[in-house]
Symmetry: C2
Subunit: 410 residues, 2 copies
């Protein structure tokens, strides 16, 4: 067979991580803290059925729903994005600058199509989202990690790396970050936008968790502070509507959005019409507000259950983040426990039967960084499953620590 393209080689490692991750998620016998899905209880099935029944008629939107559509996405969904999702967050935008895409992740692929030649540098958070990193690898970008603290990327480290590496792009998840659940402070958001403008670097702001905030103070997106068009915002309907609909959007300045539309045309022409129309109608009929409240209530309860369970059952010396929204908490274990090895036992031992995502895969540094960390997702598990699963996982961790201490003493 002819040789695969070079990009397939450069993505091999991250592709293997992703495959393993998805494999573990599909095992029905275990409690999964692995995936990034929202609560199935929060999916608005009945409303969607009602809307679908109305629109799938010849004299309503049935023909439109089943026909070819515009590459940019349907006009009313782009207006919904501008009026209901961007304006309330302090982002003034024109629907002409918004493109509907096949899930938020597609923005990362399209942005690479538009900007990344092999060898170009992308600065990423440390740790960063594995799925986006896989895309950057496929485009043969050189990913360089930037230090993070509780307020986001550390600006001194970022600026030094901009000067040293002349990146094309900086990739940031500023709100309830994946995997850490951390949120950038207002000041860091402002500074990041400024650095993009000053050094002529594109800021790719990936903000899919922003709209499920259930405690703490609302903060404006980085894009709010962008005066020069250097910030491009990617977002998703997967967390606020439904992941299976594969709907997302990207907001960019005129010259960039035109190129993104060309890349989208050359990827899959346009996003499926029926999900777009259902989603637009969902907002236009005024269902979002009550749905959003319910969504936040469900996930707040799960966050609380997760934090309480970790604090109760994990050993002394454990560090964890406290997210004000989103789906993840990030845990650092004491005592040099390797979470990749632990995961094998947690999944395969029927007395544990729990999965999570091991920390190592989120670090572009390699060399075992993050090997004592794990991402715990609480979106797709009930409070009861959280209490039960985290207790079992805690017991396993305790037994490892005891074993270690016995080995040392012995």
């Amino acid at each position: 067979m002819p040789a695969f393209a070079n990009r397939m080689k450069s993505m091999e490692k991250s592709a293997a991580i992703i495959r393993k991750l998805f494999g573990a998620m599909n095992n029905k016998d275990i409690i999964s803290f692995g995936g990034g899905a929202i609560a199935r209880e929060s999916l608005p099935i009945d409303l969607i059925r009602e809307i679908t029944q109305d629109i799938l008629q010849k004299d309503t939107r049935g023909v439109e729903a089943l026909s070819y559509g515009p590459v940019m996405g349907i006009a009313d969904l782009r207006e919904v994005v501008v009026e209901e999702l961007l304006a309330p967050k302090g982002v003034v935008a024109n629907p002409e600058n918004v493109m509907i895409i096949n899930g938020g992740l597609e923005a990362m692929n399209l942005m690479c199509q538009v900007f990344i030649d092999p060898g170009d540098v992308i600065l990423v958070e440390s740790p960063t989202f594995v799925h986006s990193a896989e895309i950057f690898d496929m485009f043969q970008a050189k990913c360089i990690p930037v230090d993070m603290d509780a307020d986001g990327m550390v600006m001194d480290d970022l600026e030094a790396k901009i000067i040293a590496h002349k990146p094309k792009m900086i990739y940031a998840i500023p709100t309830f970050q994946n995997p850490t659940g951390r949120t950038y402070s207002r000041e860091r958001r402002y500074q990041l936008a400024q650095l993009g403008s000053r050094y002529d670097v594109v800021i790719l702001e990936d903000d899919p968790y922003r709209d499920i905030r259930y405690s703490g103070e609302e903060l404006p997106p980085i894009k709010h502070f962008d005066q020069t068009g250097h910030t491009v915002m990617a977002n998703s309907f997967s967390k606020i509507f439904s992941p299976g609909s594969r709907l997302g959007y990207v907001l960019a300045s005129d010259d960039i959005i035109e190129k993104l539309a060309d890349a989208k045309t050359a990827t899959n022409s346009h996003t499926a019409m029926l999900p777009q129309i259902i989603c637009a109608e969902f907002f236009k009929r005024g269902h979002y507000h009550a749905h959003h409240e319910r969504l936040c209530d469900i996930h707040r309860e799960r966050r609380d259950a997760m934090i309480q369970a970790v604090d109760t059952h994990f050993p002394k010396g454990t560090k964890r983040t406290y997210p004000d929204g989103g789906l993840f908490t990030w845990v650092e274990l004491p005592g040099g426990i390797n979470t990749t090895e632990l995961l094998i036992e947690a999944c395969s031992n029927p007395e544990v039967g729990v999965s999570y995502v091991a920390g190592e895969g989120f670090f572009k540094e390699g060399k075992g960084k993050g090997s004592n960390c794990m991402r715990l997702s609480f979106g797709a598990v009930t409070p009861e499953q959280i209490a039960f699963g985290i207790e079992r996982l805690g017991k396993l961790i305790h037994s490892k620590l005891e074993h270690q201490s016995l080995m040392k003493t012995g």
Copy 2:
């Protein structure tokens, strides 16, 4: 702003053609023979509404339809592809080798991700499908056209170009080709599969029109003759079900399908779930057979109307193809008429009010090749619109010829 990637430069010309093409399609005041859509009258809206109502329930497939799904696509739709669309055509396949994608075109993007480094050669038909050519340009492939006759690619020319250019891939639309409507003979299909195996070149068989055959003899796909896994088949549900659903599939050998799945993961994770489930149910409930018959009846009538109108209204010396299926006839005009210039007048003159796709854009040779040709699509226009529009277009062509002959005499 940072520089765009080199690939955006190499796709500029084809992107401009595509943008112009889509722009003309959206003008509601003209009769469009431009797009590649099926008859809106053939969209199974009522059946889809009924199915959707059934599946969007908590206790049926509602949760599945709105949740994340597998990168390969849902199992039952892949089984439908194998049992109802491949087996009857003489292609024995395993569902594990079929991936559901976001429209047939996505296969071309993913195949380039997997195989094409900048500068790699792809042999294409002359003329070839502009939309795929745009993708090949985005991946900085070098597209080299191969001569075509009424039976498909000319094998001597193809073999000579394989030897001379060592291509990674050969791109062919063997059935009711876009733009010519031509169909490869059985012999050529066999030979193409053999050449792929012998010279270790991937054959990318793009076959979206195959299933709307309404006259002539059924022929096996190239993939039927493939003994070595060198042929990869791309297909679409856009012509046999609904274009707005953005559903397609790709069939490839084990090693290639694994890489395609990695590329799909790094493009948009997976295809939207609701359209997949609706489509699978459509087949599983046995609706396809009657729908297919109706689809063929509608398009046969339109093909007949188009051929009759062209034969009646276009000048002596016009050549046109006679497709046994699909959506296109290809016309060569006599007298050196430039169809790109003609199109401007056909669209803008309210006494004509007709659009089509000018021939030049389909030829990778450039240098004005195909400048007397046009692709006429008869899928999305009624027999009445065809008769009316082609008569007007014919008159315009006649007037141009008369003007030319006056200029010569004068």
